[in-house]
């Protein structure tokens, strides 16, 4: 009999999820019920996964201890996303609900040990994300959704092709403990799979959806993108492809590693250089995410036996928190769900609200990797790995690209502290930021700082 220890938890989760979906139908009070249920759902889930040693449904679905940790973090992140979405309007709650489905996909992605579950959960996450983008209702949301959808579909076809070859080469879908029947087909499939990974984490040259999507979605969607999709998919995909590559023949492996190094360096430079000329925050953040994908991509090239997962999680976690916090802070200064998010709205922002200005400053600097913020500690750990594995030149190239990156992060600080409002400036409506969002932001800011000063608090979770 299979160990089904995860079954009650997941059933309860799905049950409450359905309940909260249904409760939207309740007139007037529906959104509050749904909102409450969603949060309660996450809390119960968080509680119950931490009660058990291991979580499994069948012998093909096992969440190990590391997975449990990732799920815990993701759950907290999901709560954050829900809080960010809020409950003022029905569509906010609806977005939270769809995010719940994304989260559901994430759960299965973490626990999957074979590609079929992996595929379905990945598709669940992507489809829900397309819908979220479509539902954002900004000026170009629909275009962005179409673009994202078409590119995503092509990508999922490539993924399936990779799966087909993988299957052809191993005779099964398990990605742990398989035997390779045909090395050439296997290598080919892994090559294709690598492309899928590059697309999912938004590396060059598969990055074109990133700026379009990021600049045309609600802050909540962006938050769920950073906190859930990017975090989970980034981690799972990178470690998975790292595992798969290690099974290849050495010369193929070397070639793959050099491709990855090349792509990651180009991504880092491309993202950082393009970030310089952006006038919109969300686009700037998007290109910064392209650059960051380059930074973390190189982990694929590392030796899997050394166990660099912790560093990667640490890095992704704080990257997601910082990026989300930046988005939220900017939303305080100008309602990015309604306005063009140009730098003008930010000018002299620090003097409007010291707390928000400081938090924005901290989080942007964390993205830039300036010490005393977690961005530095995480980058330090991640990059030290590269040095340790002998990828000295590439790691240096990444570092050099991050110099370019500082150039645009610091522009935010300049706008915040040093600019005066232009004379003919029409004031934009500042985003209403609820009290719980303020608390949340403060919490995130403190975490970002703590992660930089005492990283052991977090890396030792």
């Amino acid at each position: 009999m299979d160990n089904m220890s995860f079954l009650p938890t997941i059933l309860v989760f799905i049950g409450i999820l359905c309940l909260s979906t249904l409760s939207l139908i309740v007139p007037k009070k529906g959104k509050y019920i749904s909102y409450g249920l969603t949060i309660v759902n996450y809390v119960i889930f968080l509680y119950s996964i931490n009660q058990q040693m291991d979580l499994s449904l069948t012998n093909l679905f096992v969440v190990n201890s590391l997975g449990t940790k990732i799920l815990s973090i993701t759950t907290i992140f999901a709560i954050i996303v829900t809080v960010i979405n809020g409950y003022q309007e029905l569509k906010d709650v609806r977005n939270s609900l769809i995010t719940s489905f994304v989260f559901l996909g994430a759960i299965f992605l973490v626990g999957a040990t074979e590609f079929i579950t992996f595929y379905v959960s990945l598709e669940l996450m992507s489809l829900m994300t397309y819908a979220l983008v479509r539902l954002s209702g900004l000026e170009f949301s629909k275009e962005a959704a179409v673009k994202y959808f078409i590119q995503g579909s092509i990508n999922s076809v490539i993924f399936l092709l990779a799966l087909a070859f993988f299957y052809g080469a191993t005779g099964g879908f398990e990605f742990k403990g398989f035997t390779i029947l045909n090395q050439q087909l296997y290598s080919f499939s892994i090559g294709l799979f690598l492309i899928v990974v590059l697309f999912k984490i938004g590396s060059f040259p598969f990055h074109s959806w990133v700026p379009d999507v990021y600049s045309n979605v609600h802050k909540g969607v962006l938050a769920s993108n950073f906190l859930i999709s990017k975090f989970v998919i980034g981690f799972i995909m990178i470690t998975l492809v790292q595992n798969l590559i290690s099974e290849c023949e050495p010369h193929v492996q070397n070639m793959m590693v050099s491709i990855i190094i090349g792509v990651s360096i180009i991504s880092a430079f491309y993202g950082n250089i393009l970030g310089l000329a952006q006038n919109q925050f969300k686009r700037m953040i998007a290109y910064s995410s392209v650059a960051h994908s380059g930074y973390m991509l190189m982990t694929i090239g590392l030796n899997i036996n050394q166990g660099y997962e912790k560093q990667l999680i640490f890095y992704l976690m704080f990257y997601s928190i910082s990026a989300t916090a930046v988005i939220l802070c900017i939303n305080f200064f100008l309602d990015i769900d309604k306005n063009k998010d140009t730098y003008d709205g930010l000018k002299g922002g620090f003097y409007k609200n010291h707390l928000m200005g400081t938090l924005l400053c901290i989080c942007v600097l964390s993205l830039a990797g300036i010490p005393l913020t977690s961005g530095f500690a995480t980058k330090y750990l991640l990059f030290t790995n590269y040095f340790k594995e002998g990828l000295i030149g590439p790691a240096l190239a990444l570092l050099v690209s991050s110099i370019v990156g500082i150039g645009y992060y610091i522009k935010v600080v300049i706008s915040l502290f040093m600019e005066e409002k232009p004379e003919n400036y029409v004031p934009v409506q500042a985003g209403a930021i609820s009290i719980e969002n303020r608390l949340l932001l403060t919490f995130m800011g403190v975490v970002v700082i703590l992660g930089g000063v005492l990283p052991s608090l977090f890396i030792n979770f």
């Binding site: 179409v146 673009k147 078409i150 590119q151 092509i154 990508n155 490539i158 050439q184 290598s187 080919f188 090559g191 294709l192 690598l194 492309i195 590059l198 697309f199 060059f204 040259p205 598969f206 074109s208 959806w209 379009d212 010369h251 193929v252 070397n254 070639m255 793959m256 491709i259 792509v263 491309y270 250089i273 393009l274 970030g275 310089l276 000329a277 952006q278 370019v404 150039g407």
Partner: protein
């Protein structure tokens, strides 16, 4: 006891400086500030005199504090009073007191007497630091200190931009010399592992010759320093400009004391350089050529202070030349005598200028003999001294130098000839100065309300004292033919502390011949000057000379165009180079490189932004291209094996 005296000697001028500078209100009375300053200097003078009996027996040293300490070297702030420094100390404090007294009268209308006298006291303090120094470091303290005071005092009337500039010029020129001093000190320390004069005095000839190259270089550096401070070629250019300071300052700093510091330093290192023939040769030529050149320039100047300035340069040239021929003690003797008569000349000129309301052009003076008789007679004493008329102090010292030069092996005769010409010219231009100022026709501007008369007693008394000294001090170092017992008494006293001249074969006949020649030329040129400027004033004899020798005259009047040449070959290139550095190198190369990187990355950003496809089709295109490229690369790896 003697140590204590030594330690407190410089204290009084310092106290006077602090009192005048910090405590005294800026609008305090001139006489009060002057009196404080005078008191500071005079008490020092008394202590120096008190120290004399001790020093006569044996040099006194006093260690004050450790400046810095290293594992193999210790810098100490330490004083030394020996036969050399006591002479200079007496000179500094004595003449300093007199000039301070004079300045009380001279500066009676100034707005900031407190400041003036505090600077003056600071100068005395620095000068004492220089003279009392036991090692080259402390000497350098004083050395730069006096340079600083010189800067402050030259530019004392700073609202006149030219005066401020003159001060800066003096400081910078001195700094060039100071560079030499620093490097020289280091060089000496590298060889001797000590910078103490006591140790330098004890060096053996073998040590010196073993490190000949290093020591020659270092000594030449020190000579450079000496030329800076003592206004010799090539750094003398600041001294004539320095005359824009108040006249007492010119008298004290730029005639009597500070400018002789170079000679003092050469005396201090005499035990080393006396073994270095190249250095001596260089010194001798620098001194003699400067003496001649400055004398030539002095002949044609019309500003009374400029004439005196060039005369100072010329006279110091004599002293330096003396050092160059190995007769350090003779050089010191000339320093001593020169201090008195040159101070007298300057103070006299100061009195004249003061009474003529800051008129300095000699051609606008004349006939002052009747209006300012006391000043006139003081001036005449000084003239006779400097011109080298027998029985006056200048005669003794100058003649000694020329005799020593003549006896120098090798180039001695040439140097003698140059010095002789310079001495002749000196007699001429000094007589010219006296004639134009006092004896010629009255060309002064008459102001019935302020008739021209002699200066007040507080200015005249110092003049009188200095006149007596100008006559008297010469007898301290009489030549052989005057007194066999006391011959060269002064020099022998000094030679306990400095290197003595090489023994010469005494040839009385030659000496008398040369002396006769010198005296004869002196009288001829004095008479010529009198003849030109007084007797034939109406017939414009001087102008005829001027016209016939106009090329030489122009050269002389324009100071051989040295300032212009320096400007063209040193100052202007440096300024242009600095401009080039700022406007080209800094802007386009160093900063430009940085900016270019910035601009390039931003422009590439803009470019990439523009080529990035915005429509769906190009996004798909990029995807497919990426797919193809990666797959192809991978495929090649698969196939190659």
């Amino acid at each position: 006891m003697s140590e204590l005296y030594l330690k407190i000697i410089p204290l009084f001028p310092l106290l006077a400086f602090l009192t005048n500078g910090l405590i005294l209100k800026s609008n305090a009375k001139n006489s009060l500030a002057g009196f404080i300053s005078f008191l500071g200097t005079f008490i020092s003078f008394i202590f120096v005199c008190l120290l004399y009996p001790y020093v006569k027996e044996t040099p006194v040293t006093a260690s004050l504090w450790q400046w810095m300490q290293f594992s193999n070297f210790t810098f100490e702030v330490k004083f030394l009073m020996d036969n050399l420094s006591i002479i200079l100390s007496i000179m500094v404090t004595g003449i300093g007191s007199l000039i301070t007294l004079f300045a009380i009268g001279y500066m009676d209308h100034d707005e900031r007497p407190g400041k003036f006298f505090s600077y003056l006291s600071l100068f005395i303090f620095s000068m004492l630091l220089l003279t009392l120094s036991e090692n080259l470091l402390v000497l350098f303290f004083g050395w730069e200190g006096v340079g600083l005071c010189s800067y402050l005092l030259i530019g004392f009337w700073y609202t006149d931009l030219d005066k401020a500039k003159a001060g800066r010029k003096a400081f910078v020129a001195n700094r060039v010399g100071d560079l030499g001093v620093v490097l020289g000190i280091v060089g000496y320390a590298m060889v001797f592992h000590s910078i103490s004069f006591v140790d330098l005095k004890a060096v053996s000839m073998e040590t010196v010759l073993a490190n000949k190259e290093m020591l020659t270089l270092s000594s030449l550096f020190l000579v450079l320093g000496a030329t800076g401070k003592s206004a010799q070629i090539p750094l003398y250019i600041w001294l004539p400009d320095a005359m824009s300071g108040p006249t007492p300052v010119s008298a004290l700093i730029h005639a009597a004391t500070m400018v002789t510091a170079g000679v003092f330093m050469l005396c201090r290192i005499s035990f080393v350089i006396t073994h270095l023939s190249v250095v001596l040769e260089v010194i001798a030529w620098i001194g003699s050529v400067t003496a001649l050149m400055a004398a030539i320039v002095a002949v044609t100047q019309s500003d009374i202070k400029k004439v005196l300035a060039y005369s100072t340069v010329s006279q110091i040239g004599f002293m330096i030349a003396a050092c160059g021929v190995g007769a350090f003690s003779s050089g010191m003797f000339h320093v001593f005598t020169h201090a008195f008569f040159k101070a007298l000349l300057f103070l006299g000129a100061g009195a004249v200028i003061h009474c003529l309301h800051h008129e300095q052009d000699m051609f606008k003076m004349g006939g002052l003999k009747k209006k300012m008789p006391k000043t006139y007679w003081c001036f005449v004493v000084a003239l006779l001294s400097i011109a080298g008329v027998p029985l006056f102090s200048g005669f003794f010292s100058k003649d000694e130098i020329m005799w020593m030069a003549f006896n120098k092996a090798g180039t001695g005769q040439y140097i003698f000839a140059i010095l002789l010409t310079a001495a002749t010219l000196t007699a001429f231009y000094m007589t010219r100065l006296v004639c134009l100022t006092f004896l010629s026709k009255d060309k002064t501007h008459h102001d019935p309300h302020h008739p021209i008369h002699d200066a007040p007693p507080i200015m005249i008394i110092p003049l009188a004292i200095l006149s007596i000294c100008s006559i008297g001090v010469g007898y301290l170092g009489m030549p052989h033919f005057m007194s066999h017992e006391n011959a060269r008494a002064f020099q022998l006293f000094v030679e306990k502390a400095v290197s003595g001249p090489k023994p010469i074969v005494y040839d009385e006949h030659t000496e008398h011949l040369l002396m006769g020649l010198t005296i004869g030329l002196t009288f001829i040129s004095m008479f010529l000057a009198y003849f030109m400027y007084v007797k034939n004033e109406e017939s414009k004899l001087a102008d005829k000379f001027k016209f016939n020798l106009r090329k030489v005259w122009n050269l002389s009047n324009n100071k051989f165009f040295v300032d212009e040449v320096y400007f063209a070959i040193i100052i202007k290139p440096i300024k242009n180079f600095a401009g080039f550095l700022v406007n080209i190198v800094e802007k386009y190369v160093i900063d430009g490189a940085v900016r270019t990187i910035g601009i390039l990355s931003f422009q590439s950003s803009v470019f990439l932004k523009s080529v990035r496809g915005v429509e769906l089709q190009s996004n798909i295109f990029f995807m497919i291209m990426g797919l193809t490229i990666i797959v192809t690369i991978l495929f090649s790896a698969l196939m190659v094996k």
